[in-house]
């Protein structure tokens, strides 16, 4: 399995195994290598045909007819063959699989996420089990398109209103919170027409809760709205602008933490907002989550599903909840997100919590 694919008759001296982050031209070179090595298929001569038969064996891949194994978050990276790595790299370029998924899903049982980790890290399984035991048994999956934090936030924000003891009141509070955040938009130099246009779908959803319209105030219609690309993306942009304007107007607070996620070099507030916050498809990190949480005065708790071993005897310490915003107590009904490296989903309890279970 661990054998590295280095065909003895490889026409190129460099082994594809070295490739971790190559530019597209090298990748093309390697593609052509692949096609040359497979060329002997058509050759009537016996020895090359033998080489062909040997090649798949050397990679540890199943025979040519067998379907390729499933590679997911759970796969140990060191077992990947070069063909598999190449396939994954190709996938990164096209992302068609990702783009065909719904923007946000109806809830799935947490057990389905657990299924993905069954053969994986025991630490992660332990954390998933803890969530399950404590009632966090529903996951609403956001599409992995770089906007997953903002979309998960929207869903959790709307569910919070829906499941509150007094949805109409909560909706009015949410509406006020958005209105209070608007001056910062103005101060950041965003055009009023621009941000109002993007905020409109979110505002009208919240208004529909305030008016207690039965037709729109249910989980199904929230998901339906957030699956509609135009409105969903408008809301993502609106939240990005809210986040950006909060960072811009609290520059001194944020500036020490504004780093480029690729180079880790400090960025100016303006650079950070223009490069990492405002464009769609850019992942949110702590700074963005903190800013949005503060901008809308809403607590956020993020359950980190990483491989860290959280010691201690107390139950709370099994999973790492990273908290943002002022009120993250159970009474404050913070938004609860599930974080796996590079991705956010929403995690909820099936029954809205009424009695704190701590």
């Amino acid at each position: 399995m661990g054998d590295r694919h280095t065909p003895p008759d490889s026409p190129l001296p460099n082994t594809p195994a070295k490739k971790s982050k190559t530019d597209s031209s090298t990748e093309k070179d390697e593609m052509s290598t692949a096609s040359t090595t497979s060329a002997p298929h058509s050759a009537p001569v016996a020895p090359p045909a033998g080489d062909v038969a040997a090649a798949p064996g050397a990679t540890g891949a199943p025979t040519a007819d067998a379907p390729p194994r499933v590679i997911d978050e759970n796969t140990d990276m060191s077992t990947l063959t070069d063909q598999e790595i190449m396939k994954l790299m190709e996938g990164m370029d096209h992302q068609e699989d990702v783009m065909n998924k719904p923007l946000i899903s109806t809830p799935v049982p947490l057990l389905i996420i657990r299924e993905e980790y069954v053969r994986g890290s025991p630490q992660i399984l332990k954390k998933l089990d803890w969530l399950q035991e404590h009632g966090w048994d529903q996951v609403w999956r956001a599409r992995g398109d770089g906007d997953c934090f903002y979309r998960s936030f929207t869903l959790a924000y709307l569910l919070r209103i829906l499941h509150s003891p007094d949805p109409a009141l909560e909706a009015n509070l949410a509406y006020d919170a958005i209105q209070r955040a608007l001056p910062a938009m103005e101060d950041s130099g965003f055009d009023k027409d621009l941000y109002e246009e993007f905020l409109d779908p979110l505002s009208s959803l919240i208004r529909s809760f305030a008016e207690e319209r039965e037709t729109t105030s249910n989980e199904y219609s929230i998901v339906q709205t957030l699956q509609d690309a135009e409105r969903s993306n408008c809301i993502v942009v609106a939240l990005r602008l809210l986040t950006s304007s909060y960072i811009r107007t609290h520059s001194s607070l944020f500036s020490p933490f504004l780093l480029s996620p690729t180079t880790f070099l400090p960025l100016s507030t303006d650079e950070f907002c223009r490069q990492e916050v405002e464009p769609c498809g850019k992942e949110a990190d702590h700074a963005q989550i903190m800013a949005l949480s503060e901008a809308l005065s809403i607590g956020i708790r993020v359950a980190y599903l990483d491989r860290s071993e959280i010691g201690g005897q107390g139950e709370e310490s099994v999973i790492n909840w990273v908290e943002f915003g002022k009120d993250t107590t159970e009474e404050g009904r913070p938004l609860t997100l599930l974080y796996r490296p590079g991705h956010y989903d929403v995690v909820t309890k099936d029954v809205p919590p009424k009695i704190p279970d701590v």
Binding site: S24, F190, V237, P261, T263, E278
Partner: protein, 187 residues
């Protein structure tokens, strides 16, 4: 059920483009660029006219050829095509006829980071460059194109041959651009 929210995608784009057009007319971009819809019926297709920036080979060298002191620069036409979900996604910009430049594909399509759709990174360059966001618009893109004409970025070129020429033999690159500009102007 969603009647009050179901706005046609084009209408969002159209409304936004109307506003951009109004703003551009009220406050023109220096006086080197003009841009506007080709016809009032279709806001999703614009034409831009861009004057070659001073001090670049994209300024016509007419006075050197004729001896007359004529400062008239090269003016290049480009087509801007907006997607129906603009401004969530950027528009495309195509010089017609194509312009010889390291960051313009031989078919005339402009390749700069600010015009790349969100999440799309065809050149695999890192995030240090400015990306499209709905905060951008025709004005900011055209200004970027203007500075692109003045300062080609061969790190992320579109026309590879042209990049090589620019890097290895700049005088020849400039000569060819001038020749092209001359032809465009019909001199």
């Amino acid at each position: 059920m969603f009647g009050n929210n179901a706005r046609a995608q084009t209408s969002t784009a159209t409304r936004r483009l109307m506003k951009e057009y109004r703003d551009l007319t009220a406050d023109p971009l220096q006086d080197t660029i003009t841009a506007g819809p080709v016809s009032e019926d279709n806001m999703l297709e614009w034409e831009a006219l861009i004057q070659g920036p001073e001090g670049t080979p994209y300024v016509s060298q007419q006075r050197h050829l004729t001896g007359a002191d004529d400062q008239e620069g090269g003016v290049f036409a480009a087509k801007l095509v907006f997607p129906s979900d603009y401004p969530l996604n950027p528009f495309t910009m195509t010089f017609d006829p194509p312009l010889l430049h390291p960051n313009i594909y031989p078919n005339g399509v402009v390749c700069i980071s600010i015009l790349h759709p969100p999440g799309d990174d065809p050149l695999h360059y890192e995030s240090a460059s400015e990306r499209w966001s709905p905060v951008q618009g025709v004005r900011s893109v055209l200004l970027s194109v203007l500075s692109m004409l003045a300062e080609p970025n061969i790190e992320s070129g579109a026309d590879v041959e042209c990049c090589k020429l620019f890097r290895d033999n700049k005088p020849e690159f400039e000569r060819r651009v001038r020749e092209q500009v001359k032809n465009l102007l019909g001199i």
